[in-house]
């Protein structure tokens, strides 16, 4: 096992070198870095926003570059006439193809790193906000599976069919998922971190399937190697199984709808009436509702990473938590994002200690209320939205004017919180919780 592994890493290193020296790589890296940098030049762009933007580009611009690059890598030897030189060599098909794949995946990830670096420079220089390494590490981690999936599919299909046109099938699928994300179940979207397990397994399965077929068709393997067959079956069936489990355990229309989420969406926000309740993931327990906060003043802020201005509400919630938390107020942020990891990442990156939940039924739509059950319940046509409810859970204030640079709660909110927290705690046991 030692020798093939040595060859594999050596080949990956050589492949990376071939890519690194390719003028196409420099063009791709410069293009992606420019797009990333330019998207983060607005004054006040925070590290979290900049990192989020670049991680989104991993599924668009950088994803396209990755797909094109891997299609090129798969067909490169045939184009330049090196394929016969390579194929007559005694090295195993697995080491050749996996080494090539890994080396070129390294090139793609280097493009991603350049993009993140450009975004960081733009964010610090023009955005004027502090650099946070963790935000960029999170963005890189979020980009791994989308880039890996696009790279794997492009490389595998082009290798098997011997033409870069095969990569067009992947591009077509991806365009359909992106353009139809309002209608297509989120399980088909490999850019969402909650689907990482599905697409990591399926990508591994596609890779091993490619090895099997290529080995037999192009290098004259007489047998189907059992470990490879088993790995292929395991990865593909595992990926499909996880996908099915995910669909049936989540609110993912049109494939599956959950009554609990639909019930959240059926509520309405109205000053003077009870604040819409919820059971949402993101807290220390699997689902957090309003029940544990009976008798406390609630400040619920809705935000979305796709609306960078809305991140201002998080600073307001931080201030509320710090100033009024000990007086009986609870700050709760609800992230309206398709990607369920964003809320957690943003909280860590910025050191938010208040409760950060996310809407598991959210889609990336405009207005947010059209695709998010929580946003629908809170009538959030625009974000951010801050709702303050008193100890009786009655909505006392709805604030929509919080700007991106907000660091303090508006005076009206502060005054209301002072009054509400000063009020007596009602008897426990509100009926109809959450």
């Amino acid at each position: 096992m030692g020798r093939p592994r040595q060859a594999f890493w050596g080949l990956a290193r050589s492949e990376f070198l071939v890519g690194w020296r390719n003028p196409g790589f420099r063009v791709a890296a410069a293009l992606c870095a420019a797009v990333a940098g330019l998207s983060c030049t607005a004054a006040g762009t925070t590290a979290s926003v900049a990192a989020y933007r670049v991680s989104q580009q991993a599924s668009t611009v950088i994803g396209l570059v990755a797909l094109l690059w891997m299609c090129h890598a798969a067909c490169r030897d045939a184009w330049m006439g090196a394929d016969e030189l390579v194929m007559v060599k005694p090295q195993s098909t697995e080491a050749i193809l996996l080494g090539r794949f890994l080396g070129n995946l390294g090139v793609v990830l280097t493009v991603m790193l350049f993009s993140l670096a450009a975004a960081a420079v733009a964010q610090v220089t023009w955005g004027g906000t502090p650099f946070r390494l963790l935000a960029y590490l999170h963005a890189f981690a979020r980009a791994l599976v989308p880039l890996g999936t696009l790279s794997t599919l492009g490389f595998a299909l082009c290798t098997l069919f011997g033409t870069p046109v095969a990569g067009g099938v992947v591009a077509l699928y991806w365009i359909l998922v992106l353009s139809g994300r309002d209608f297509v179940s989120r399980v088909f979207n490999f850019s969402l971190t909650q689907n990482n397990a599905i697409y990591a397994l399926l990508s591994a399965g596609v890779l091993t399937l490619m090895l099997l077929v290529y080995r037999r068709d192009r290098r004259g393997g007489n047998r189907w190697p059992r470990p490879l067959v088993a790995a292929t079956a395991l990865f593909l069936s595992g990926g499909l199984l996880v996908a099915v489990l995910f669909v049936y355990s989540r609110h993912d229309p049109p494939l599956h709808r959950r009554d609990g989420i639909l019930a959240i969406a059926s509520q309405h926000l109205e000053p003077g009436r009870r604040i819409p309740g919820f059971w949402l993931p993101g807290g220390k327990v699997p689902l957090t509702g309003l029940y544990p906060f009976d008798g406390r003043v609630l400040a619920v802020g809705l935000w979305a990473p796709s609306v960078p201005e809305s991140l201002g509400v998080l600073e307001v919630l931080r201030q509320i938590d710090a100033e009024f938390g000990s007086q009986g107020a609870t700050a709760i942020a609800i992230c309206v994002s398709e990607d369920t990891a964003i809320a957690r990442h943003v909280a860590r990156e910025n050191g938010y200690r208040f409760l950060m939940l996310h809407d598991p039924g959210a889609r990336q739509t405009y207005p947010p209320s059209a695709g998010s059950p929580v946003a629908e319940a809170y009538d959030a046509a625009d974000l951010p939205k801050l709702v303050v409810a008193d100890r009786e859970r009655t909505v006392q204030l709805v604030e929509t004017g919080i700007g991106p640079d907000a660091s303090q709660a508006p005076d009206t909110v502060r005054q209301l919180l002072s009054t509400a927290t000063a009020a007596a705690v009602p008897p426990q046991g509100n009926p109809g919780s959450p």
Partner: protein, 316 residues
């Protein structure tokens, strides 16, 4: 399995020298046929025995040389027949054949952004030379053998045609193959590079089989110990070049002719060359007997012989 070890049950086990390399390498081709889609027969019942030394495979374009090379190199499946390299069947024992095979195809590309050393390092890994010291030694040796040591750090994209061809040979030599297949190695080279390539092949052929496929007769004439002539997918001749030349002894003539006579002579005899002379034209022809007053017998060369094999025998 290492070269020289017992290749498979029933195969001939070959004696090995102290370094583990077999003393007698052999390629055995039996009744090999290759029919492409569209019923194009590229090879038709080809049988050859090839031993140590340079084997020149001669034939015009489209005669099946490259198809034969690719089958021996495990890149193409034959339709019928068998090829064994040192006892290893190229159909069923591809991995073993690849371990003792070096191949330089007719048209090939190498990664232009890498240096010669880096290209060879990559190719050495493909040859399973994973141990760094052994790989480095193999690369240095291949560079030295092909006289490319001084170019080791130059990017391949800047190489001339001759340098590129020599690098092609170098990559094929990395794992010291017992069988080296070179397909049209001198095409596109200038005279100086061509001579250098021939010398290199002659040197390399001392202790291994080199199958030199070419349509350039002078290449074979310069270096081949044995010769095979392919024409329309069939073997027209196999043996030492001298044996072929002996068949044309006293049958090749050089005739001084006027331009007007040239056409008439072409109609009557098999022409193998035309040259301009001070008095007009000189024509090389093949004929059993010659009654032209300005004709004189000359020594046959392989050019005459190959044309005779390909056209003469066809015309009876």
């Amino acid at each position: 399995m290492r070269p020289g070890a017992s290749p498979h049950p029933g195969a001939t086990e070959r004696p090995s020298d102290p370094e583990g390399k077999p003393e007698n390498v052999e390629v055995t081709i039996d009744h090999l046929t290759k029919v492409y889609e569209g019923r194009i027969t590229a090879l038709n019942d080809v049988s050859l025995r090839i031993g140590t030394g340079v084997f020149g495979l001669l034939g015009p374009n489209g005669s099946g040389k490259t198809t034969l090379m690719r089958i021996i190199a495990t890149l193409l499946e034959p339709t019928a027949g068998s090829v064994r390299v040192n006892g290893f069947d190229v159909r069923r024992q591809k991995a073993q054949v690849r371990r003792i095979l070096g191949y330089m195809p007719q048209d090939f590309g190498l990664y232009p952004s890498l240096t010669a050393y880096e290209v060879l390092d990559y190719m050495a890994l493909l040859c399973d030379l994973t141990e760094p010291t052994a790989r480095k030694e193999a690369i240095e040796r291949a560079l030295a053998e092909t006289n490319l040591t001084h170019l080791r750090d130059r990017r391949v994209g800047t190489f001339s045609g001759g340098m590129r061809q020599r690098l092609g040979i170098a990559q094929a030599l990395l794992h010291s193959p017992q069988l080296l297949i070179v397909d049209e190695p001198t095409v596109g080279l200038d005279p100086e590079e061509r001579i250098r390539m021939r010398s290199l092949l002659a040197e390399l052929g001392q202790d291994r089989i080199i199958i030199l496929s070419t349509h350039i007769v002078a290449d074979v004439e310069a270096v081949a110990d044995q010769l095979g002539v392919l024409y329309q997918g069939r073997v027209r001749f196999q043996g030492p070049p001298d044996a072929l030349l002996r068949q044309l002894h006293e049958k090749v003539w050089l005739v001084d002719v006027s331009r007007e006579e040239l056409g008439r002579l072409r109609d009557r005899y098999l022409e193998t060359g035309v040259f301009r002379s001070a008095s007009g034209m000189q024509v090389r022809v093949i004929a059993e007997e010659m009654d032209h007053p300005h004709a004189r017998p000359v020594e046959p060369n392989l050019e005459d012989a190959s044309i005779w094999l390909m056209k003469g025998t066809q015309n009876g």
